[in-house]
């Protein structure tokens, strides 16, 4: 992605304290008053012109949330979050909703340009002539989607790609049918919070038998201070459909922590396939652990039909705290779930991430490849669950979790849970923990590579299996992002 490329070109010499995307855009915002109560929820719902059923849905979530407690089981440590000291809605003032590009505030377009995300279709198409594949983008700035590209082109194929706030109005039947059907409003503290106050995010529907003609992507940006970002993404691949979706994230460097609690729901019907890739590069905080994004995310895919396939690929390099377990419910017979993850922690970052593979249907299979890299004083935990239900005869899972340590002040942990209620299931688990060896480093240095380049090269080798899962353009840029994330990791 261009954002990453630009980072590489300009930021090669900086350390973890100098996050590239740390600039703040001076854009006037429409803010909800601080705090969370029924009035705020109604305010958000009214701002978005929502139908009554959705307002009620949000309120139900809020009431539920008020009875819940923050989970504490993850291996992350952070000061208490004052949920009443946050703004739950922030929108750039001049943009009341997604419009055509001509109407979008030039300051906003400028922000995305700085991030390297082209929003002008002409610019993207110019890239296509140079051999880049077109990617349709939904750009979400704080609580609202500012623009979505290639909508018309996609519509020709019957693909719906728009902000979820718009889908609520234009395709209420689809939203109502699927929203909360994978992650119910009662699911967990953060998901329930999201259900009450979710701001914006993308909606994708790929109709029966359609192979989505281009990559879809959403680019999330937190700008306003003291805000939470609560995006909600819903992707439905109808029978026999295929879609590949990319998600990218950044936020300004601020001394206070920013809260991000997203929910992503994927639904794959019979013979459908969804490939979901994330490159998460939220501000990680400085090397002393000041500031940074708290990222509490619930991502879940439901292989609702037979032969359905969902694969999650994630590259997690940012955030002060990452709490994230993209999961698959393998409901349809012969359905498949995959999770490929690269999680890099440096400085004082804390990562607790992994996946859940819930086998319910017959002959379902899942594959988990997780590569954790810890450097600096960070902590990196893989937490995974493989569960095989009573009816899931012939279920198979293969899990491989490798951790790589750089230096001796960081920590890596692997917490795998396996529950099997069906004797025919085959569950395999492999795990390794290693350090970059001095011999490997010396060998690379002897050939002329500077230390940081040598580390990046060795780490890229370590994560190769996962890198190969990323779309081609993304793969090359991610390799460089890995180098940048590890700067200042030794010495």
């Amino acid at each position: 992605m261009a954002a990453v490329k630009e980072t590489v070109d300009q930021v090669l010499s900086i350390d973890v304290d100098k996050y590239k995307y740390g600039f703040v855009s001076d854009i006037e915002s429409d803010l909800a008053p601080k705090g969370l109560n029924e009035d705020i929820v109604r305010f958000i719902s009214a701002k978005k012109d929502e139908p009554e059923w959705l307002t009620e849905w949000r309120l139900e979530a809020l009431r539920r949330w008020q009875t819940m407690e923050e989970p504490t089981w993850a291996r992350v440590d952070y000061p208490p979050i004052d949920f009443q000291d946050l703004h739950y809605y922030a929108a750039p003032k001049k943009t009341t909703g997604p419009k055509s590009l001509d109407e979008v505030d030039p300051a906003l377009l400028d922000t995305y340009k700085k991030l390297g995300i082209p929003l002008k279709e002409q610019e993207i198409l110019a890239g296509v002539e140079k051999g880049e594949r077109p990617v349709a983008v939904d750009a979400v700035f704080d609580s609202v989607s500012v623009v979505t590209t290639f909508k018309a082109e996609l519509a020709k194929h019957g693909v719906i790609f728009c902000p979820i706030s718009e889908a609520v109005r234009t395709h209420p039947e689809l939203v109502r049918k699927y929203l909360g059907s994978v992650v119910p409003i009662t699911d967990n503290f953060y998901a329930t919070l999201n259900s009450a106050v979710f701001s914006d995010g993308s909606f994708v529907y790929v109709p029966k038998g359609v192979r989505c003609p281009m990559e879809l992507s959403t680019y999330f940006r937190i700008n306003e201070k003291k805000t939470g970002q609560f995006e909600r993404t819903l992707i439905i691949a109808d029978e026999g459909a295929y879609v590949s979706y990319l998600e990218g994230c950044t936020a300004p460097s601020r001394d206070e922590n920013q809260l991000h609690a997203a929910v992503v729901e994927l639904i794959a019907l019979d013979d459908a396939e969804i490939k979901y890739s994330t490159v998460q590069n939220w501000y990680p905080g400085d090397s002393e652990g000041k500031g940074g994004v708290f990222n509490f995310v619930t991502k879940r895919g439901d292989c609702r039909g037979k032969n359905a396939k969902i694969s999650w690929t994630q590259v997690e390099t940012g955030s002060a705290i990452t709490w994230k377990y993209p999961s698959c419910i393998l409901r349809g017979d012969n359905s498949r779930g995959e999770f490929y993850s690269i999680a890099i922690s440096n400085g004082r970052q804390q990562v607790d991430s992994g996946t859940k593979m819930i086998h319910l249907g017959k002959n379902t299979s899942s594959k988990i490849i997780s590569k954790g890299i810890s450097a600096g004083r960070s902590s990196n935990t893989y937490r995974g669950l493989v569960s095989v239900g009573r009816k899931a005869s012939g279920a198979r899972n293969f899990t491989n979790c490798d951790s790589l340590l750089i230096g001796n002040k960081c920590g890596a942990h692997t917490v795998p849970y396996i529950e099997s209620k069906n004797a025919s299931a085959i569950v395999e688990h492999e795990a390794t923990t290693s350090k970059i060896s001095d011999d490997q480093l010396f060998y690379c240095l002897q050939r002329g590579l500077p230390q940081e380049e040598a580390i990046a090269l060795i780490v890229n080798g370590f994560v190769k299996d996962v890198l190969q899962q990323l779309p081609m353009e993304f793969m090359v840029e991610t390799q460089k992002l890995i180098g940048i994330s590890l700067e200042g990791s030794v010495g």
């Binding site: 002897q446 050939r447 090269l457």
Partner: protein, 250 residues
């Protein structure tokens, strides 16, 4: 070109090099022979800048400049190359990728632009073919699953690609079959030039039949105890080290 003066070095409490002196001039090929554990590999590691060793006395000059304070990568771009006795595996990193990274690091240090992919491929093809290294091997991760002989050939390929001015070969002949030995020797001989020098560490005359040295040294117990012409190697082959080791002890 390379001047080693009264070099003392230790690892932990153990002194391994005990006053080693050696001068290598441009265009020369020096052979270093000596019993197991004499300190030959240690010398090569210290020249290349491996961290574990502490230099307690003496100096090492490359083209008149001290290199002991340079990082290993700085020594590399200054023209020092070490072909390892035991080449290291780097899983997941294609040999081709590694070669490109190394070559670009050298070019960058010299203020040159990176090569384009076709230019790079052409260069690699040139050096790999001479050493019977297939493109399949170049796609495999660095040294992973390479046979002993393949690893040694790959080291010489890297050397040919980086065009160093001082080449240190640590037992490059061990593990090579007869044909591979010839291929490697030809690879080395092709690189011989008036402004490049070699230090060849070996136990066997058979390598020196192919790479004919100008000067032969015996290293024993951390010191050069004897220096002579190519005939010294033949003598060692016949009579062993006993005489020289005794000399050193005396």
């Amino acid at each position: 070109m390379l001047e080693i003066k009264n070099l003392h070095a230790r690892i932990g409490d153990r002194e391994i090099l005990k006053g080693l002196t050696l001068t290598v001039n441009p265009g020369e090929v020096h052979a270093i022979m000596g019993p197991n554990g004499a300190g030959k590999s240690t010398l090569s590691y210290i020249l290349a800048g491996k961290e574990d060793y502490e230099v307690t006395e003496g100096e090492v000059l490359l083209n008149g400049e001290s290199i002991l304070d340079l990082e290993p990568n700085e020594r590399s771009v200054a023209g020092l190359f070490l072909a390892f006795q035991y080449p290291i595996e780097i899983p997941g990193v294609a040999t081709m990728t590694f070669l490109k990274a190394a070559l670009n690091a050298h070019r960058k240090a010299k203020g040159q632009d990176e090569l384009t992919t076709p230019e790079f491929m052409k260069l690699v093809k040139g050096v790999s073919e001479k050493l019977n290294i297939t493109s399949e091997m170049l796609r495999r991760p660095v040294n992973v699953g390479f046979s002993g002989g393949e690893k040694k050939r790959a080291e010489i390929m890297q050397m040919a690609l980086l065009q160093p001015s001082i080449c240190i070969l640590d037992e490059t002949d061990s593990g090579l079959d007869i044909d591979a030995l010839k291929v490697v020797a030809e690879g080395v001989n092709a690189l011989r030039s008036p402004d490049r020098a070699f230090v060849v560490i070996t136990h066997y005359q058979r390598l020196l039949d192919h790479i004919v040295p100008d000067i032969v040294h015996v290293l024993s117990d951390g010191r050069i105890v004897r220096t002579g012409g190519p005939e010294l190697a033949l003598d060692l082959e016949k009579n062993g080290y006993a005489a020289y080791v005794a000399d050193a002890a005396a």
